[in-house]
């Protein structure tokens, strides 16, 4: 049976394709995709490219069997499907960052800007602080610079963007990496095929680590 895979397009796609190749998948059509979003040339794997949160929507609706998506999205969206494998690529982490004059011990209810309200809420819950969260859709770094928020919670890979905007890290939150997620019923219906894919990926990851 064909496994239907939803792959997060963009950065995740670029980082994970070499691993998929090492695991034996033919990734040529995806590399030369043009404007294509659906790749069904291979009878074993059909692949679609989608935005991260949409990968989970396709998976939850049963339209796709397997999703490849960042763990930031899995946590933020409270993913109910099987988060089976950490693919160990696309590594980055969440930070709490702000301008140099920010005082983390500030004795008032802080305002935090973020693209990830759930993850931000989780973090401040664990340290026992209540904050006001403002959802921003992109370029979160702007918020403390123009006085909308006291600090931000965002994903950082190299830290270049923070430095360029004169922001500094005040706390490291959870790490992020690309994960493989499987629809619960699809795992039953296509057990053999999905187990095979996972074994191949695990082996490819071991080879890559050597």
């Amino acid at each position: 049976m064909t496994i239907n895979i939803a792959l997060t397009k963009g950065r995740t796609e670029k980082m994970v394709l070499p691993l998929l190749k090492r695991a034996g998948m033919n990734i040529e059509p995806i590399l030369n995709k043009g404007r294509r979003l659906i790749f069904n040339d291979d009878p074993n794997y059909h692949v679609i490219l989608a935005k991260g949160p949409d990968v989970l929507t396709y998976l939850n609706g049963g339209a796709m069997d397997v999703g490849i998506v960042g763990s930031d999205i899995l946590v933020e969206q409270r993913n109910p499907q099987y988060d089976m494998l950490d693919l160990n690529t696309g590594r980055c982490h969440f930070v709490l960052a702000s301008t140099k004059d920010f005082d983390p011990g500030l004795a008032r209810r802080k305002i935090i800007a973020t693209k990830y309200p759930q993850i931000t809420q989780d973090y401040f819950n664990t340290i026992g602080e209540d904050v006001e969260i403002i959802k921003i859709e992109g370029s979160v770094e702007l918020a403390p610079l123009v006085g909308l928020a006291d600090a931000i919670v965002d994903i950082v890979e190299t830290g270049d963007t923070l430095r360029e905007n004169h922001l500094q890290v005040y706390a490291e939150l959870m790490p992020v990496s690309t994960h493989l997620v499987v629809n619960k019923l699809a795992l039953k219906q296509k057990q053999g095929e999905i187990k095979q894919l996972l074994l191949q990926l695990q082996q490819a990851m071991q080879e890559a680590a050597l």
């Binding site: 939850n60 609706g61 039953k188 219906q189 187990k195 996972l198």
Partner: protein, 376 residues
């Protein structure tokens, strides 16, 4: 919100889908009643406390406050209300109930999921023996068969298995291992496993997240731990019983997943069709069902069909071409009799033949003109 919008997660049902669901619920209910189950209907609105045994999934229920301040919910489950009835009305078991009704569970907004699901099922209360499970299994499998749903895979499990295995391990390791197992998070599971001391169970534990699939293959992989043998024997007995009595079913066993609700105690079963995106029916034994209502427990077994999933799995039946019957006021008896005899026919209530004909044309229907037959 405009008065022209539906609340998120709701839908209207009409057309072929509505017809299918009506026919389906009728078939199910008639079959249950024919098998001697008594219909029971509980209210859509209940006190939230009735569903305490469902926590933490109770968070996804629609909640309200009664004037007194007591929290109410639109029922998220149909089994617990039956338990409430049993413990408060003095009905003496054994009893067999059947029900059809809607349950309400809030899905994620804008995810395409519906919050109102129709279920049809049975509860057998007061029989501790395996005949109760057997009746449920044969009833459910037989209905799928009659409805023309082939390729049904029946998945068996045992509610005590996972905890019995975990009891063999150091107490500190149990919770996190169970969590990783249920989430099928192979990465975390492997990390947890590394922290365990060497034991004869290690080979089994390494394969545990994959302990589902063909019934005979899975049951052959169970380690010879004495505490597990009762559950394994029960499953084997059920597998043999089904092979003999429902040979059309594909049988699988899953010993690595959580039970559908926390109140299950023994055999758990669920079924899906090859193409379905949801389980068609699920059920099992829950001998502690009455525990949230009273001290004395009653053995109980039950299952329910997800009528929405079932109607999607039904083979499409092609409706015959519709027929309109045009008649005049003196022909009511004749016209009504003809409607009964003709498949997919209905009375045409137009007052002149021209309107009737254009009505029939727009529906692609055949028009029978009874007034014509009189004049001829």
């Amino acid at each position: 919100m405009s008065k022209r919008n539906l609340p998120i997660g709701t839908r209207d049902e009409f057309g072929p889908l509505a017809l299918k669901k009506v026919q389906l619920t009728n078939t199910l209910q008639q079959r249950f009643i024919k098998a001697g189950f008594d219909p029971i209907k509980t209210p859509v609105l209940e006190y939230r406390a009735v569903f305490d045994a469902m926590a933490p999934t109770l968070e996804s229920a629609y909640q309200f406050l009664e004037e007194s301040g007591e929290p109410l919910v639109l029922r998220p489950d149909l089994t617990l209300p039956v338990a409430r009835v049993m413990s408060t009305t003095g009905i003496t078991p054994p009893t067999k109930w059947c029900y059809v009704g809607d349950v309400f569970r809030i899905k994620k907004r804008h995810s395409g999921g519906y919050n109102q699901i129709t279920q049809a099922g049975v509860e057998i209360i007061g029989y501790p023996g395996s005949k109760a499970e057997a009746e449920c299994l044969l009833l459910a499998a037989g209905l799928c068969d009659d409805l023309g749903i082939n390729n049904v895979t029946l998945e068996l499990s045992d509610a005590s298995f996972v905890d019995t295995v975990l009891e063999q391990l150091p107490e500190v390791a149990r919770d996190s291992l169970k969590q990783a197992l249920f989430a099928k998070n192979l990465t975390k599971y492997a990390e947890q496993l590394k922290r365990l001391p060497q034991s004869p169970l290690n080979d089994f534990l390494a394969q545990w997240p994959w302990l589902f699939g063909d019934a005979d293959e899975v049951l052959a992989k169970i380690p010879p731990v004495p505490a597990l043998q009762q559950a394994v024997a029960n499953l084997k007995q059920t597998v043999d019983f089904l092979k003999a009595n429902a040979p059309q079913l594909q049988l699988t066993v899953d010993l690595s997943s959580p039970t559908p609700q926390p109140y299950y105690t023994g055999l758990v079963f669920r079924a899906y069709a090859k193409q379905s995106a949801d389980y068609l029916f699920s059920g099992g034994r829950y001998d502690r069902l009455l525990s949230s209502f009273q001290q004395t427990l009653q053995p109980a077994v039950g299952f329910s069909f997800d009528v929405d999933a079932l109607s999607l799995a039904l083979p499409d039946t092609k409706q015959p071409q519709p027929t309109l019957i045009y008649f005049n006021d003196s022909q009511w008896q004749q016209a009504q009799a003809l409607v009964q005899q003709t498949p997919n026919a209905t009375l045409c209530l137009d007052d002149n033949l021209r309107q009737a004909q254009s009505q029939a044309d727009s529906l692609g229907a055949k028009l029978i003109d009874l007034t014509q037959e009189v004049t001829q």
